[in-house]
Point group: C2
Chain length 212, copies 2
């Protein structure tokens, strides 16, 4: 429609059906996901119903099954999108492993991760809390999640001063701060203000135990 009719010279013969129809399909899929995020932001993660979602894009509920195999598949696509957004906002991986670089990277990564989580509570709930009864991310989506994790908190693993046990402490402390912030002071900064302090504390512990 937009670019008119194109001859069959641009698409390769091995994948001829990768045009027109498939493009429209993907566009509708994206439109459904956008509507889903909108509903989820308004009504909460579990407030999403297929009839509402279908109505939002001018359909009835069964038509959604042309684009997603189930409601959980929609959640799975949103899960993957969420971690891709996290990947986008992740800090640059450090080049050297000096202590100054470690300190700077730790502060940067921690605060970015914290802000990413509290920016959208519904997304945080989907990505980090297992709150949807039967939902478990697909292997492909889980792969994206691991990659995003490695780029942020997991980036500390590049430093030989940081052990795996240390990393467990970092993730537990940071996710704990986020959960408390969202549960007890949503929209505020009561826990966020203490993130630098927590990072300093964790750095002292991490560096203190590795080279006494």
């Amino acid at each position: 429609m937009t670019t008119g009719s194109s001859p069959s010279g641009t698409d390769s013969p091995t994948a001829p059906s990768e045009s027109r129809r498939a493009r429209r399909h993907d566009a509708t899929r994206a439109e459904i996901l956008d509507a889903a995020w909108q509903i989820v932001r308004r009504d909460g993660l579990t407030g999403l119903s297929l009839r509402d979602l279908a109505a939002q894009v001018g359909m009835r509920a069964p038509s959604l099954y042309s684009y997603f195999g189930s409601k959980h598949e929609i959640y799975d696509a949103m899960f993957r999108q969420g971690y891709q957004q996290m990947l986008l906002g992740s800090p640059e991986l450090p080049e050297d492993t000096t202590e100054e670089t470690l300190v700077a990277f730790a502060h940067e990564a921690a605060l970015r991760f914290f802000d990413f989580c509290v920016a959208e509570p519904a997304r945080h709930q989907l990505l980090f809390l297992r709150t949807i009864p039967g939902f478990e991310p697909s292997p492909e989506s889980y792969r994206v999640a691991v990659e995003a994790y490695d780029r942020t908190v997991g980036g500390l693993r590049r430093f030989p001063q940081v052990s795996d046990a240390d990393l467990d402490l970092w993730t537990a402390a940071l996710t704990g701060m986020v959960s408390q912030q969202l549960a007890n002071d949503p929209g505020g900064t009561r826990w966020r203000d203490q993130v630098p302090r927590v990072v300093e504390m964790l750095l002292a512990e991490t560096l203190g135990t590795s080279q006494p």
Copy 2:
């Protein structure tokens, strides 16, 4: 049944119906709650259905409404019970505020709290994660929750060395450790083993900032 028939001399005339009928009612309520805990342990917190629960106690679903106004009222009663169990296992509140007492109390309270949480994941989910869509504890149940909290982690507030900001760190770190343990190593001790280390770290931070 157990003590035979009692004359009308023991109950006051202002509350005459506080026997027999009401006692049976409370007993059935307790039986329903016990069955609910059993189902929840087996099928998860959200796996509880009123028809299943009713069948477990030899009833049909509508009969449950003679004992609880709604499913959320059942969750609320379980919520209160859960925090009463937490209250039962809480450590003795310290008498003095010396540093040795603080250190000992912190280690004791932290480990007890951790073990209490991981002992029953469904209970932890009900008490600490807000995972049931429309559920919010009633004011009376919330009162019990606050009391239980004050007896454990909140007991640190008795020490003048511990500020409110410090307390936020304690709760965030501990609940974070618990969540990581349950999510990534259920039944294991990967995070539990680090609880003493976290306590020492928090103690160092708390004591270090209050009296430099």
